[in-house]
Structures are given as structure tokens and as C-alpha cells.
Subunit: 123 residues, 2 copies
DNA sequence: CTGCATCCTGCACGATACTG
DNA sequence: CAGTATCGTGCAGGATGCAG
């Protein structure tokens, strides 16, 4: 029963929703949620491979923040070597489409953006 | 004619689309594009008022980056006091829905997120 | 394999003052 | 009003090493 709060606006610096916006609107979150939403439950190491270039520390922090906000669940297996899997929650999945759209936008429009940049810089 | 480049992936650290993703996936860009897309052409000062808490410097930089990438156009009026207006381009408008969706998500789910955080922190 | 601790660097961002 | 210039600060995030 998530209620819409029309008087809560990300535009207000005092509104906690802005903090939430800052968390979801960043490249690592966008990439992680997109990959998790597309692939389903994934291991830490596989996520790290997919998110090419991310450091272990940053991936851990990103996943922990997502878990804290209830967007991701962490499944620890009592094995050795350890195996930990991550999965989007129902709430987290509501973010999948919007964030995947952002990733897609970057991929689909990068050529046009690069041309615009050249034009702009040529003055 | 923006071509989809299926071999360009934000997941690759070497792909320029990731830089583009990093630019559009941040709170100030999300807020600015959402407001510009909803309100149409706007003055610098009005944008600054809407984006509560943003400094003049950061707003200038945000708008300049958007202009450079061809997402926003800058209209300078030869008046005194000066009047400068900003407006989304057609390309910029393709970002409006996705970024507005992110802002809306933050507003609509902040209550649930805050509850999850309390539960998580209570251990 | 997963993840934590430590250290370090760069940049995002804010504050302030000044100009056309 | 709409910037620019300058400076200061905090934090994101990378590198490395160690632990369970």
C-alpha cells in the first residue's frame, strides 16, 4: 500500500524523497538494478563482472544501500567457498523499467550526443 | 536518425555511453530535465527557485553540460537586466519521461523506503 | 569467494564576492 | 539578472591487503 504523497516533492531540499532520488539516480545503481532485473538472482562475483570496472568496495556499498532501502535481498549460502546472491525485491523491480530505460537511452543516443559535443566544442 | 548500437553497452567501462549515463543519472539532471519538460521554456532564476537548494554555480554547470550534449537550448535576450531562458531540445525531451519517472518514484515510494531503512537499521 | 579496513585522490558541490 | 572566479570541504570511489 505505498501511498502517493503529493506534498512530498524531490524539488524541496528538505524532503527525504530527494535523498532517495540521489541514491537511485546514479550510474552504479542504474546499472546494478538493470542487470539484476534482467538476469534475476545473481552472485556477487557475476555482478562484479557484469558491472565492468566497478571495485569490490563500491559494489558492496551499492548493494548494501539497495538492501537497506528494501530494493534488494541478500541470500547467503552456508558453503565454502562462500556464495552470496542478490535479487531484486518487488519494490526494487518497480525501479527496473525506469532505470533500464536510462541505460538504453545512453546507449541509443550516445552517437548523437557525441556529435553535439563536437559541434559545441568547435567554438 | 539516431542508430541503435547494440554493441555499445553502458556495462563496458570503455564505452562512451557510460559517461553519458553518468551525466543523465544524477539528481540535478533528473530534476532540471523534469522541471524543464513539465514547464517548457524557463528563465535561469526560475529554474534556480524550482530546484530548491541548488547553487548558481552548479545550476550553470548543469545547464552548460546539457547544452553541450544537445539536450537543452539557451536563449539569450539582449535586454537589461539580462534574461536567459532554457528549453529542452527534441533530444532532451526524449529524456523527460524517464527522468520524470525517477523523480516520481522517489516521491511515491519514499514512505516505504523509510520504513525499510528503519527495519534494517534496527539490527 | 565475499567482504571489510585502510589509505588516498579527485571531483562534486557549496559559499562568497565580483562583473556586464 | 545571470553569470564568472576563487576557494574550501566532504565524500565518492579506486587500490591494496587481510579475514572468514
Amino acid at each position: 500500500m505505498s501511498q502517493v504523497m503529493p506534498d512530498w516533492s524531490v524539488l524541496l531540499s528538505t524532503c527525504p524523497s530527494r535523498t532517495s532520488l540521489a541514491r537511485i539516480a546514479n550510474k552504479w545503481t542504474a546499472m546494478a538494478v538493470s542487470v539484476l532485473g534482467s538476469n534475476g538472482r545473481m552472485r556477487f562475483g557475476d555482478l562484479r563482472t557484469q558491472l565492468d570496472g566497478i571495485s569490490g568496495k563500491v559494489l558492496t556499498e551499492t548493494l548494501r544501500d539497495l538492501e537497506r532501502d528494501g530494493l534488494v535481498t541478500r541470500h547467503v549460502h552456508a558453503e565454502v567457498p562462500p556464495r552470496v546472491e542478490y535479487e531484486l525485491t518487488a519494490l526494487g523491480f518497480t525501479l527496473h523499467a525506469p532505470l533500464l530505460a536510462l541505460c538504453r537511452w545512453a546507449e541509443e543516443h550516445i552517437a548523437e550526443v557525441l556529435v553535439n559535443r563536437e559541434i559545441y566544442d568547435a567554438r
